[in-house]
């Protein structure tokens, strides 16, 4: 039986790693063979957070495309489900990936802890632990880098209906992976609390025995970016490293040494050159995709692929290193196993999205694969009507634009991940890989159209979405093989 990966993504960094994972899965990257479904669960009190909402939109689009494809063999291979879907098969709101946190939407931290109802002695004690800014802080913009606030607000997992649902649907063989940052507020506080809840014996919750014996992995992001100085923000990146050290010490004593989890991936970038604008949260917190989030997503793939090597109660610690230190990372700077994991898929998908943006107009209604004529026995469903339909534009086209946006963001961030060149002329569309020098001008899109013509007849019984994704999976692969671009 195929199993599910429950992916808890805590805070803004967790959401951005989930975004990178969605892109990898869309391109056809595979989880370990025993997994067929990913269940992303985004935990962030900052419900208006730009990164969170962008990730939710990407996950929703992924789901919309995936459910229209019958037995995909490459692009969008894995299913993505929300906890709400699993808990209630009648649930209509399938795009809802967030974990509901009670009393965080309208309350200040002071109201959340019932500060005004406390005795004067308790109030004084709280004032020792929390600043005036902390106490008056609105919880709907997160914890603004204060894990001491997060550890109070997030200590509600066991009472949460979503957690009870999660425990109820969790089955033997399913696994849990937690993504969080160590240098902020939400992730740093949420990760140990969530792990504590997963490993606690709580008779009130069904399924805790299974959770106690589940293999749990995690990705902990060490500081990998800075934020600019701002008088209007409580977040100060000068404190990131010190907070990270303190948190690591705590994790080491309470999580790693006590073997509360089976695998922990640590990722960071000392002396991070990336400086984001300093926004405490909400819509303005919308950071570009980053190389380390991409590598973080790869660590999730690695975890599922090597889960059989993990033993319950034995913690493995993993780190990631580049082959060569550089500010412009390309495929050749990644190690062989990482390249094998993602190269072909990303390159194929990139060629596909480039084609959709630049090559499609030339062929729709003209190439055999997109035209049905009067007496043809084998029909294509990829006609003008399909490419003009709202569903195509809203799902496939939107997702491919988001994929290109993601690669552009990775490219402009520092250190950059720049495996692709900016789009060339159509006549030279094969020249899109930064690692490869294409000496002869080659129209890859024309080659794709020729391959599409060859393959469309094999897919005439499929739905239009299945036809599209399976057709381009085959044709992009054929073009890459023909031009010897399937490996670095």
């Amino acid at each position: 039986m195929a199993n599910r990966l429950f992916l808890f993504c805590i805070g803004g960094t967790g959401a951005r790693v989930a975004k990178s994972l969605a892109m990898l899965l869309a391109s056809g990257c595979r989880l370990g063979s025993s997994f067929d479904t990913v269940v992303p669960i985004l935990i962030d009190p900052d419900s208006e957070n730009g990164d969170l909402n962008r990730t939710k939109e990407i996950l929703r689009l992924y789901q919309q495309v995936r459910k229209r494809v019958n037995k995909p063999n490459d692009f969008f291979f894995h299913e993505m489900k929300s906890l709400h879907e699993l808990a209630d098969t009648e649930a209509q709101n399938t795009g809802h990936f967030t974990f509901t946190l009670d009393d965080t939407l309208t309350n200040t931290f002071k109201e959340f802890i019932g500060f005004n109802e406390l005795s004067e002695i308790d109030k004084s004690f709280f004032r020792l632990l929390y600043s005036g800014n902390n106490l008056n802080s609105d919880l709907n913009i997160g914890f603004k880098g204060n894990p001491n606030m997060g550890s109070i607000v997030l200590d509600q997992f066991t009472q949460s209906e979503d957690f009870k649902n999660f425990a109820r649907v969790f089955s033997s063989g399913d696994s849990i992976f937690i993504v969080s940052s160590i240098f902020g507020g939400t992730g740093a506080a949420g990760f140990p609390l969530l792990l504590k809840t997963l490993r606690s014996d709580n008779d009130d919750i069904d399924g805790t025995a299974l959770l106690n014996n589940a293999i749990v992995g995690s990705l902990v992001m060490l500081p990998y970016f800075k934020v600019g100085d701002s008088d209007n923000s409580e977040i100060d990146s000068k404190s990131f490293e010190e907070k990270a050290k303190t948190a690591i010490r705590y994790y080491n004593n309470t999580l790693i040494n006590q073997h509360k989890l089976e695998c922990i991936y640590l990722l960071g970038y000392k002396g991070a050159p990336t400086v984001y604008e300093n926004h405490e949260g909400q819509m303005l917190q919308k950071n570009d995709a980053h190389l380390l989030e991409f590598i973080g997503a790869i660590s999730i793939l690695d975890y599922t692929r090597k889960i059989n090597e993990l033993d319950l109660g034995v913690t493995k610690i993993k780190e990631f290193g580049l082959q060569r230190e550089t500010s412009e990372v390309r495929f050749k700077d990644l190690d062989t196993s990482t390249v094998q994991c993602v190269y072909t898929h990303l390159v194929k998908y990139r060629l596909f999205t480039s084609y959709l943006q630049r090559g499609l107009n030339r062929s729709v209604g003209k190439s055999r694969w997109s035209v049905n004529s009067v007496l043809n026995l084998k029909k294509t469903k990829l006609t003008d009507d399909f490419f003009n339909s709202a569903a195509y534009k809203n799902y496939i086209e939107s997702f491919s634009k988001l994929f290109d946006e993601w690669t552009t963001e990775l490219d402009r961030n520092r250190p950059s991940f720049s495996p692709f060149k900016s789009m060339q002329e159509i006549a030279n569309s094969l020249d899109f890989l930064a690692d490869k020098e294409i000496k002869k001008t080659t129209d890859a899109f024309k080659q794709i159209d020729k391959c599409n013509n060859n393959f469309i007849g094999q897919l005439d019984s499929e739905s239009e979405y299945s036809q599209l994704l399976k057709l381009f999976s085959k044709s992009t692969e054929a073009v890459l093989i023909k031009n010897k671009l399937m490996s670095i």
Binding site: S367, R368, K446
Partner: protein, 145 residues
């Protein structure tokens, strides 16, 4: 023979020497038939199975048809001309050499008539071949319509 003389009515008893010796006994009709059958067959096969340009429109098919028709005309014209004017039968040669018989003029008109007939026949076959081949063609299966 029936096709050309019967269906298209090109046979004229007065110039029987041409029909007997240039077209019938020297297998001229067979040659003419092969020209209008095989030329469009070759063209449609090339168009549907060898030509893989992925952005062809209906007028690409029309161009192929036109080129095929021109070629059929040229081959038929040249071949019929050879069959009649280089024929070695003594009576036919004598008749063509003597302008008073009218053979030379008739032969020239006949060459043109046969070429035009072959054009129409090849166009018809080109269309029929197209309907069959398009079912199996990967690149041009959507053409002509």
């Amino acid at each position: 023979m029936d096709l050309y003389e019967g269906l298209f009515g090109i046979g004229v008893a007065r110039y029987q020497l041409i029909f007997d010796h240039a077209l019938y006994y020297s297998n001229g009709y067979v040659h003419l038939g092969l020209i209008f059958i095989l030329t469009p067959l070759l063209f449609t096969a090339l168009f549907y199975f060898v030509y893989t340009y992925p952005y062809s429109k209906y007028w690409y098919w029309l161009i192929a048809l036109a080129v095929c028709a021109v070629l059929v005309f040229a081959i038929t014209y040249q071949h019929t001309l050879n069959l009649i004017f280089t024929n070695t039968h003594p009576e036919l040669r004598a008749a063509i050499s003597d302008p008073s018989t009218g053979y030379r003029n008739f032969a020239s008109q006949l060459v043109m008539q046969l070429s035009i007939i072959n054009i129409f026949l090849s166009i018809g076959l080109f269309a029929i071949y197209s309907l069959v081949f398009k079912q199996f063609s990967k690149s041009q299966g959507h053409l002509p319509i």
